[in-house]
């Protein structure tokens, strides 16, 4: 009898201790993880996707050339396209693939646009970019595979499973925001779009220097193949796109390879570099001297893109869906508010 009592007490003690430790670790982890929404906002958007109703008929996957250049509100208001941009800084082609896999677990859009700027990178670039892309993903086999495909030599899988291990020394840099945003981050994007309002004309944009080898790496092609295959399997219209941007330089040799690839695989490839049809003016429509578009540029480009999608793939107009209309009405209000706020900030500078 006594024996059982002791045993029971021990089990209870052990359980309570384990719970306390786990709770402590959980709280510490929440506290020490970087709060992207008030810091490097480019890292916050992958996670935000899961909060939007999975009823998108267009999903755009890619890097800053996507999430800073395309305004989903314009696509909605003018073309009835309910679009979400799954963008992250320096997104690599295999990360785009796994984000596509991840997206298809929740919904099957009519069309998917993949930014192919990343075809030029055959290996992981930088840990901070990996973090910004991967941390926001919900756990799934896609995330696990994305981590293993992306890790640089210095990284470890366990650091993704328990980010506390990665950020353990951040206690030295904690701010009030870290406590305030421990459990819920602020919303930073509008359907994955990150608005920029500044203007910095493009000047002296350098030409690309000649390369020894223009062929994309095998790894890049391998993942492009996987993207193509996955879209075919899910009957999703795949569009490869190069966003309008003057720098980094987009070589003709790269363009030619993608044209060939698209033709061979019967998919669409839309190169928007130096495309006069769009109507962009790089003296006024860019905030960083020609690398990315500001909101004015993004709206012009989105109109072009909407038209193109309507004409080329006859994408459906969802403006008769009451729920969506309601959601977008409130998003439009947010968008305008954010825009005027940003312009105000800019004029105050």
């Amino acid at each position: 009898m006594k024996h059982i009592r002791i045993l029971r007490r021990r089990i209870l003690r052990f359980t309570v201790s384990a719970i306390v430790i786990c709770l402590l670790l959980f709280l510490l982890q929440r506290l020490l993880m970087p709060k992207y929404s008030v810091g490097t906002q480019d890292g916050a958007m992958i996670a935000e996707y899961y909060n939007d109703a999975p009823k998108h008929n267009l999903v755009i996957i890619g890097d800053s050339e996507m999430y800073e250049n395309i305004s989903p509100l314009v696509l909605w208001e003018n073309y009835g396209i309910n679009c979400y941009i799954r963008g992250s800084a320096q997104q690599l082609i295999w990360q785009s693939y796994y984000l596509l896999e991840d997206t298809l677990r929740y919904e099957t859009p009519e069309a998917v646009i993949i930014n192919i700027t990343s075809m030029q990178y055959g290996e992981p670039q930088r840990e901070s970019y990996n973090r910004m892309t991967l941390e926001g993903m919900r756990w799934s086999t896609s995330k696990v595979k994305a981590i293993f495909a992306s890790m640089t030599e210095e990284e470890s899988f366990w650091d993704y499973v328990f980010p506390l291990l990665r950020y353990h020394s951040r206690w030295n840099d904690l701010t009030e925001d870290d406590f305030r945003l421990m459990f819920s981050e602020e919303k930073v994007s509008l359907n994955g779009y990150m608005m920029q309002v500044g203007v910095k004309p493009a000047e002296n944009v350098p030409e690309g220097r000649p390369l020894a080898d223009y062929t994309f790496s095998d790894v890049s092609y391998q993942y492009l193949d996987k993207i193509t295959k996955l879209c075919k399997e899910h009957d999703v219209e795949l569009i490869l796109m190069k966003s309008p941007s003057l720098y980094p330089y987009w070589y003709e040799e790269w363009d030619a390879q993608l044209k060939t690839y698209a033709a061979e695989h019967e998919i669409r490839y839309l190169n928007c570099v130096n495309n006069d049809e769009i109507g962009l003016n790089f003296q006024t429509d860019t905030f960083d001297g020609g690398l990315h578009l500001n909101v004015a540029g993004a709206e012009i480009y989105s109109n072009f893109l909407g038209r193109w999608l309507q004409n080329e793939i006859e994408i459906s107009d969802l403006r008769d869906d009451g729920e969506l209309v309601q959601a977008w009405n409130s998003k439009a209000a947010d968008y305008e508010e954010k825009k005027s706020e940003k312009y105000r900030e800019l004029s105050e500078q």
Binding site: I21, L24, L28, E155, L164, L165, H168, S169, N172
Partner: protein, 529 residues
Amino acid sequence: MQFVSYSFLLFLAVVFIIYYLVPGRFQWMVLLVASYVFYLFSGPKYLIYIMVTTFTTWLAARQIDKLKKQQADYLEENKKTLSREDKKSYKSAIKKKQRFMMLAALLFNLGILAVVKYTNFAISNINAVINLAGGQPIEFVSLILPLGISFYTFRALSYLIDVYRNTISAEKNVFKFALFVSFFPQLIQGPISRYSQLESGLFTSHHLNLKRVSFGLQRILWGYMKKMVIADRIVVGLTTMTADTAAYRGAYVLVEVFFYAIQLYADFSGGLDMAIGAGQIFGVTLPENFERPFFSKSIKEYWNRWHMTMGSWFTDYIFYPISVCKPMLNLSKWSRTHLGPVLGRRLTVYLSSFAVWLATGIWHGASWNFVFWGLSNYVVIMISQELEPLYRRFHQKFNVDGSLLYKVFQIVRTFLLMGFLRIYDCFDGVITTWRMVGSLLTTGNWNILWDGSLMQIGLSMTDYIILAAGILLMFIVSMSQRSGSVREKIHAKPYTVRFVIWTALFLAVLLTGAYGIGYDASNFIYNQF
């Protein structure tokens, strides 16, 4: 596989579960397989070395044992017929065979160690001579240095010699012997255990004992704290300074002496804590390697408390055999009659000690730095031994014996002396080391100690605060250790107190440990020995 890695923790957990799931008589096999898997992680190429060493020493020891048995049988059978002389000559014939076996295996394995570890050192010395003569230098060979080769070779040889000396009997099962040589917690940096110390722990069955397991885990955690919080943090500052001998001279050398003493101790003893703790989890008690060495009052005492298993190995297998070998005894006899009792008594001790310290130096690394370091220790110990009577007179005259202040003085003196000797490790070449130590007197830049220069060596204020706290904790634990096991003392406290203490230590290591990206995961200093 490094002790400080996720894979090691995972590995340990898996081995632990399997170990306590299988029936007791299979437990040692689990450890053997685990040890070889562990070794395999460091590169399959290395495996052949440890297997050859294991097999040759095992075989030689078996042969010696068989000869022993053969002798016993023969003497028993022919008890009545043999004369005393016959017996004696038979015994000496057997002894000769045994010695041959022992020496063959010994030289063979030492040969492997010497070739892989010292070939390039030898070549660089030959080249120095060739250079003087203006000849074409020899190319360095690219040899792989198997992980922990010095440690496992010494372990295997101690077994061989013990069998030869008849202090233990040979292990019949080659796989069991293989486990002794390769037991993974002590594979990469010791301790250099003896067969008699491990035999019972390794080969008997163990039930899951919660207290023992948690003590083992606590010991590992403590090791992580020393290694990750202290050693891996301070090493950043240390390498910044030692990498640039032109910029960091004078008073910096004193800082280096302190930093290196702390770093080496925290790194090495922390690694040993992990090894011993891991052993404890499996019910295997490994010998201790450190006994608060920085509290030593003399160099001699220091060497009895620092890297103890190496020191006792050298005493048992080098000092002792040399002291009692025939030529040495003859020399002793001769010197006593020819050189008088004072010098005569000392000569053989000096010679044997010289051999020990030369070996100690070379064991630590294939470079002249280490040779000089070893011999410097020798010189200091011999001098202090000679000055012993003088000290005693001084103590009596001023009546300082036993006074706390004097003890502290002795401890500080020993710490500094050892620190300056140890600094040989930090620089490229013997001459550089001397020059750096000399700059301490000539540079006169003492203001760097307080003018903020020490904030420029890669360590921030936060780093210094963490280091200070870590070192203080290490100091308090050491003080507390003098009156018995700290873990036992904590264990005697109520559960909540224990829980708070260990959780706090765990979180401290987790949050303030210098690990992960941004920190160079520095290898244990002793891995390559």
